[in-house]
Symmetry: C2
Subunit: 481 residues, 2 copies
Amino acid sequence: MKNIYHRPATLFQTTTPGASNVVKKVTFCLLVFLSASCMFAQQSDAFTIKSIYDKALTEGECHDWLRHLTKEIGPRLAGSPGAEAAVHSMRRLMDTLGFDTVYLQACTVPRWDRGAPATGRIINNGVIGTEELRVISLGNTIGTGPNGVTGELVEVFSLKEVEDMGAAGVAGKIVFFNRPMDPTQLQTFRAYGGAVDQRGMGLVVAARFGAKAVLVRSMTTGLDDVPHTGAVALVDDVEKIPALSVSTNDAEKISRLLRQGTVEVHLRSNGRILPPVPSYNVIGELRGTTHPDEIILVGGHLDSWDVGEGAHDDGAGCVHALQVLPLWQKIGYRPKRTFRCVLFMNEENGLAGGRAYWDASNANNEYHLAALESDSGGFTPRGFSAQAEDAVFTDYYRTINDWLPLLEPYGLHFESGGSGADISGLKSQGGLLLGFKPDSQRYFDFHHTANDVFENVNKRELELGAASITSLLYLIDKHGL
Amino acid sequence: MKNIYHRPATLFQTTTPGASNVVKKVTFCLLVFLSASCMFAQQSDAFTIKSIYDKALTEGECHDWLRHLTKEIGPRLAGSPGAEAAVHSMRRLMDTLGFDTVYLQACTVPRWDRGAPATGRIINNGVIGTEELRVISLGNTIGTGPNGVTGELVEVFSLKEVEDMGAAGVAGKIVFFNRPMDPTQLQTFRAYGGAVDQRGMGLVVAARFGAKAVLVRSMTTGLDDVPHTGAVALVDDVEKIPALSVSTNDAEKISRLLRQGTVEVHLRSNGRILPPVPSYNVIGELRGTTHPDEIILVGGHLDSWDVGEGAHDDGAGCVHALQVLPLWQKIGYRPKRTFRCVLFMNEENGLAGGRAYWDASNANNEYHLAALESDSGGFTPRGFSAQAEDAVFTDYYRTINDWLPLLEPYGLHFESGGSGADISGLKSQGGLLLGFKPDSQRYFDFHHTANDVFENVNKRELELGAASITSLLYLIDKHGL
């Protein structure tokens, strides 16, 4: 602040010697006025942001909303009764939060049913063993049928290995993808990104060469007994085969056995692909006071996997998004731009909600000045990732980084990178896309597992996330980009 | 790095026109050499720090050591069998870690026994109610006797309120300290610092005016059912009275009842103050190769409260400290300075170990160039607090902040502030005292409670803490301060 005060005096010294005293005085006063205004604006923003954090930590409702979403509604796989209940419950909640319009946006979602829990056992001397492997069916996959599938495991560490082996190596066998997530990646999402091709594409690659099933090492950096589900990609011209995930401890155990010789397993899964059904995004909107044609969006995805309660993924993101407008109201801030809170449907296994939203938005020539998705859990905030079209990115990135003095005291920083699956189709509108980035160390302890429950979300960490998002969107709404 | 490469060329352009070509060439070569060396040093440090993190995340033993300390040994209150077992077990462990000397340093610790769990009930119409309040005896306190204590509660929010009331207000009553920790403090330790006087000094202040007992709101920002223990100060000329802590939910409930009228409670606690016993700090030392008279210390405290397992407080700090030398060995680094790992005894309720250590060190005219304590839990690292004598602090602080480009990629920053209770008496030696500062949002969910168990420590977060500490101490050892 001292520097800002001093700046006008310095400038005054360097005005040309011929300038009259009157001009000098006017210039001086103007500069003092401008820099004082600038200082006042910074102070005012700092004060507002502090108020947002104080309100989030003392009057925030997001933890209670998350309890409702996880404990009263529970898992919310697209097309399931839980997802339907969540749509209607969140619509009713939004009706109480001060939006001027709350509505549902239709989309058609794939429907998948896990059936009874999958089982997996190692075969010893032709006899199915008694010890259960910790396995779980991957999403969108067919079941093995009541008799299960028995086959020899072929351990691989990449998709390319399967392609290199071809049918000679994998036909009639069960392909076991066992490349671990890289624990030396500080951001666990990068480690995930480096391993998840096995889960996403492993089935198609293995099926193309005649494999009878796929077993994938669970997506976590840790060694534990918890299998992780998640989506697999399906391709029309490739046969559907069963695909399961196995806990990292059991993956290690199988790998040890494979070093001693052939390993056969018996797998049974019960997934069913059902006809698509209608579902909805839930949207709340408040028209902007002075720039109604510029939209600022905040969102999370309302669907979750069918195991656990979808607490971090993505109940946390939903309640973060819901908390923004109430926090603005608590501090008496009304947005200049049109503010939209969107709870997207079907991010996990189809992205039907995201597509429906951006297709409609692009067709209507809407302009999202900024869109932010929270889909990395309810942990202590570390900052935001930002992306935009190349032509505008540098300018946007400079603008948001100019706000760092206001955000760094809260541990927030910016990085260039992906934003969120549900908002990615808005990029062509030319606005700024943001992803909320909390600390990622614990995320893959819970992600897509039975452990993703309310009890594993810390109230303060969740509230700080809501405050961080609300503060950044306040700056964007107030100052533009 | 590009800039460093370019710097010599720029300087070369600005040498005086009269200088001979030979001088120019020598100057140029020298500058290239120096800046390349500098660049190489920075690159080399960056590479070493990356290696430290990689080793911690792939070969770190600290999580296994913590499992041993919490699950096999368990709680370790000073003077208890658990503390004694921990001393001998950690000594044996240190014997395997590459120190050239491992020894015990004697200290005399106070001994306190909680006895059977405390109970608390509200009295309704003269009859003791059936519903149990969640209470716990505070450390170092006497019990109520087998019949318990019955008394009217006087709710206060500060020590000063008790002093203002005096004996007329509190004599014969039970003083109920109910000022919450301030949830709007981003660092929960600051909120703790703003409330813990009630637990530490409440007994003495209330007893001085004739109160019969003290009930203190638990030290946590949350609202839950878990009572938190912790130390109270005792003063020779003030009568010892029972003091208990009550869960925040029950504190709120009592406060609501008090707004309707008088509230009487029946408390029973069973603490016993026993004669002091001998105990030990556990110390491992490796003599420095080139600066053996400069000591670099890393420590945590081996004792814990008797409830829970002392996992975050301070098992995490102990295993952080133990991990430093093995990580250096894994990357092939041998310290120039004398390196000492100290597991202090009795931090929780007496600080006998810390005092014994610094008394001996000061008496022997030792010089600790740097001492670092980890006693804020095993959460994701955020940085370090630093303190030193005024005359040297600015220089030290500038030096460590010059290393920020190497540490910020790991989310580490410095702040000025307290270091650790066990090392505070080393300040007069003129070195730098450091406190490890991980994320603090979850700490008071566990601190001094039955929930401070191994399962609540995340393996990666713990390993990252060890890597952070090892990296900073590497820079201090290699470059000095």
